[in-house]
């Protein structure tokens, strides 16, 4: 059962990623990206990481896609067709990314990953909150604080960049 769900989810992810990078309408590309992010949240649900899947759905699918659609609307590109890309550029892109896929997959299949049978720690919201604010060995207080400063800096930077300059 889980295998079938995994195949469906990866089919959705790969097909809609391809459509995102190849479609001619920009608004459609944003909607296809939404499907990709939703299917990724499904993969996290399969791993039993419920909180991460919820974060993925709210921040990515709810926040970033809406931000992208806003920017499309603000720059008046709703119904526009994207420029045709010349064949040389497409060929170069296909060759380089195909080479990359070939290299990574051949390395991957020559490496032996041994799946661990250790007991999984609880991925409940309770444990996650404790770990984020703990000072001990498995605590993540430092990256948590760093990322809060980063978010503040990004917020101030976005406001300063986007505000209109008064003469």
């Amino acid at each position: 059962m889980e295998t079938i769900i995994f195949y469906i989810l990866s089919f959705i992810i790969i097909v809609f990623s391809l459509l995102t990078v190849t479609t001619k309408k920009i608004l459609r590309a944003a909607v296809y990206l939404l499907f990709v992010l939703g299917a990724t949240a499904g993969i996290y649900f399969m791993f039993n990481y419920n909180f991460l899947a919820a974060v993925q759905l709210t921040v990515y699918a709810g926040g970033i896609v809406v931000l992208i659609i806003f920017s499309i609307l603000l720059t008046h590109q709703i119904n526009t067709n994207l420029d045709k890309i010349n064949a040389k550029k497409i060929a170069l892109g296909i060759i380089s990314s195909g080479l990359g896929i070939f290299l990574v997959l051949s390395t991957l299949n020559n490496h032996l990953f041994v799946a661990s049978n250790n007991q999984a720690t609880d991925s409940s919201i309770h444990g996650i909150g404790r770990a984020l604010l703990s000072y001990s060995d498995n605590g993540y207080i430092l990256p948590f604080e760093v990322i809060s400063v980063l978010l503040l800096a990004a917020m101030i930077g976005a406001i300063v960049i986007a505000k209109k300059e008064e003469a």
Binding site: V21, V59, I64, S71, Q77, I90, S96, Q119, A120, L151
Partner: protein, 110 residues
């Protein structure tokens, strides 16, 4: 780990997704679609983190937490990038780019 699904399947899927994003970044001309390709790449990396965590080190949660931090960084990056894109668009409206005859943003035609 999950019964019936090897880690190789998940890594193969995320590799393909990563290079589709790289292809989009190389071929697209519009800034917003390039941003979407970057989101695809970040998402593929995130799946890798979580898969390694789940299959190889299930007793720790490091991949899970760094996946969360990457999502936060992606949100910050998208906010700043979209502010820059809108600013470039306003400058283009002011004929700033027209006199220099270069086309950064919004190179699409009606």
């Amino acid at each position: 780990m999950i019964e019936g699904i090897s880690i190789y399947y998940i890594l193969t899927m995320s590799t393909i997704m990563f290079f589709i994003g790289a292809y989009g970044f190389l071929t697209r001309k519009n800034l917003i679609t390039m941003l979407m390709s970057i989101e695809l790449v970040l998402n593929a990396v995130n799946i890798n983190f979580v898969a390694f965590n789940k299959y190889l080190y299930p007793e720790n949660m490091q991949g899970h937490f760094f996946g969360m931090f990457i999502i936060g960084i992606a949100a910050a990056e998208a906010a700043v990038a979209i502010a820059i894109i809108i600013n470039i668009y306003i400058m283009k409206l002011n004929d700033y780019f027209k006199e220099k005859n270069i086309d950064y943003c919004c190179s699409s035609r009606r």
